[in-house]
Amino acid sequence: MADNFHNEPPIDFSRRQNRDRFKRSLEEARGQFDHGRRRGGEWLESVNPANFKEIVGRVRNAGTDQADAAIEKAARFFPKWRAAPAAERAKILVKAAGILREKRWELAALEVFEVGKGWREADADVIEAIDYLRYYAREMLHLAEPRQTQSLPSETNVYLYEPRGIAAIIAPWNFPLAILTGMTAAALVTGNCALMKPAEQSPMMAQRLLEILGEAGLPADACGLLHGGGELGAHLVRSPKIHLIAFTGSREVGLEILREAYTHRPGQEHVKRVVCEMGGKNAVIVDSDADLDEAVVHVIDSAFGYQGQKCSAASRLILVGEVHERLVTRLVEAVRSLKIGPPEDPRNAVGPLIEEAAKERVEQYIRLGKKEAQCVLEMAAPKQGYFVGPAIFTDVDPNSRIAQEEIFGPVLSIIRARDFDQALEIADRSSFALTGGVFSRSPAHIDKARKEFRVGNLYINRGITGAVVERQPFGGLKLSGIGSKAGGPDYLLQFLEPRTISENTLRHGFMPPEKLRK
């Protein structure tokens, strides 16, 4: 059942019937928008960032009382859930994957509106969620088998994994389905109870996920959903009854979570475990012998795909030697050819930023960039949503702020390097180390990058975003994160605690035959 893992294929948009179907799904999704009156403080509104007059939906915010009640409920249910066979839990995940697959069109369409993603990117998020469900289901089946450590005639020694308890899942809006699903599925399939706290900007996707998990047969008490902002998240993190926090988001919040989570509080009988993925300031090196036809296209996708709002996005482009002269004009002209506008219209390659604050932050960085470096591209953007046109800077000092701080927007800093060694050195000059890329046709340079370009995910002669579950387990080093990689073989271990059980089987010289020793 869950044993055969394969990645869910993306929608092939070269087929007209698929384009038509997606368009219909968008219309249907829009038909379900909330046209009611705004209803005050306890309601959380999901706004279409490409047109802030449209309310995609609204949900109720949870207060701390509700959060505590949800924790209590999960705590009561936990022993039961822990005792459920792993195969049963895995089966629920696989079932949920099937339901997600059936609903992939409507989910992707909703995502286009809720977070301003293009069609392909929205579909990619949905299939990644499907992949996590299936992959973690399969991985758990392997982990669930207790292992004999050594086989002795007088003793059994068993090594096994157990869940930790209650997991708080604090998820971002930029992959509103995939990351939330991945972290939640990992917690649940390993036997933990989960409390999801999705980003305020993408509550509707979380709402849909909860429904689907229920439909797949997940007991209601195993997984709760709490909507709210930073305070709600902080409350969960501080709760002495939470055992594990799975977080993906900004470095600032991540470090705060680590500090709070490791502070012991009255009534807390355990040390919390934090699984933490934080941002990136990812560099792509283009060597002097690179294939520029390839480099231009992949750099654009990596830097400006989803407006650069990915922790894996390229934000530093390091050009070796005179490749600068050959590449910059082509790159700038290629980006200038991109259309900016609502992503529901597939002619727009650049959509909106997620919210007003993001727009202001990015615009601020663009202003700063003009002081620190040379602005070679700035594009006008529509006013009706949170749009900011792509910006490219050249002659960027590798130590300047636009080359060091995570901007999380469509801004690319181009840095010159004398040679490949210097390019590697510049790439490494960051406290982040999530993804990185190299375009080169020199076998020696590629080898060197493999050894010395020390980032969590290194991509050679391809784009640096879009890691695929199992194929490219994903996660960063340095201040980009702790814990092991999502979609990889070690991920579930973080949600588990190992136990060792030894039994003396020798009683006055009498031993059961080997096959009865367990």
Binding site: P10, F13, S14, R16, A290, D291, V297, R336, S337
Partner: protein
Amino acid sequence: MMNPGNTNVSSEKMTERVDSTEQAVQTLARSLYQKAAQHKPSLFEAKDLLGRMIDWSLEDESLRVALFRFVDVLPSLESSSEIGRHLEEYFARVDHALGGLVVLAQALHAGTLVAPVVRRNVVKLARRFIAEESGDHLISVVENLRNEPAAFTLDVVGEATVSDLEAAAMQQRYLDLLRRLVKTGESWPPVAQIDDSPQGNIPRVNLSVKLSSLCARFDPLDPNTEATVGERLRGLLREAARLQAAITVDMEQYAFKDLTLEIFRAVLEEEEFRERPHAAIALQAYLRDAETDVRELIRWARRLKRRIGVRLVKGAYWDSEIAWAKQKGWPIPVYLEKARTDASYERLSRLLLENHDFIDAAFGSHNLRSLAHAIVTAKMLGLPSHGYEIQMLYGMAEPVRQAIIQYGQRVRVYLPVGDLLPGMSYLIRRLMENTSNTSFLRQTYADRKDIASLIKPPAPARRSDDKVAASSNEQAGG
């Protein structure tokens, strides 16, 4: 396909006819082969760098990879020491006693041999496959071809188009070439074998166009692609109509196919282009969709009552198509088995020829068996030899071309033009194609396979080819 309602008698007749056709195909293929086999194509005979490269790459797979990768990177290398470093890096790891090359690399590295020599050699090599756009080279190549006599179609090679600016420049390049060639061509004496068809004179200047070169990013999802490319294509067609030149739309990767066909049809349906210019499109027999597409195109031409050219090729993106499909988890769009592609080619040849009242068929192949099949089929259908044409690539299979020209057919040479170095990716594709062990040219001239096996009818062995492509990740053979 046989009609299941046929009686025994008529299906016997059918078998007889198939047998006699097959016999004629074999006879023609054999006689063409005997002519062609007397000379080696320059590709396999060259005593210079090209010849050595081809020899090495036939010998050893790892060397072949190193060699092609080196040629691929070469245009971007600016200095001797860079060329030397890459030579060393690529060939040091090849498991092959390549004394000469290692010495060459070391010499380059030490600076005792200058890189321009290597570059010059590769440029020379490229010139066999690509005509230089600037200067007189292009005109002399074209005029030599017409003397053979062979017609030509130009293919502009260069960097990929990634911006609107580059797309506009590309369109301008196409227009300039059209005008230049048409003007030069005014002085060319007419040659009946290549300039006539049953419908009268055909354009002497024929331009092949890749639609992806006409926009910043050819993306079927982006409705802007259709609008932008359509507009630039209109510009080309308009000029071609005015100059009495012909436009052929090339076919690229599978992901572009549907949209390429749609744009081609949509623009030609417009009133302005209902009669002129001569327009053709390439279709690839290795695609599982090929027959559907050919039938649809024929239906469309009939409905429109407009003559359309179809260049039937086998397809040049085979490895890439398989790689891309596997990456995405999509069904593999091409036949995995070479014989199935060959069989598809013959089936589609017949289909195109049967519809000669609306279709100008062009058969792009170097495979004598495939070409003989098309020629014999045309004859059986009562088509005159100038009712269709044979197309071949410049720089390849010259003896095959000569044999076919001598047989009296109209041959058109697909001639890439452009800067030699940026044209390298084209060169790589051609080298890959012709040194792959399923290549007809390789089997004929390098492997010296016996004639009977080269011209036997394609017999696909693996019945489950379709299933394999749809469902499994098994390594594709062929």
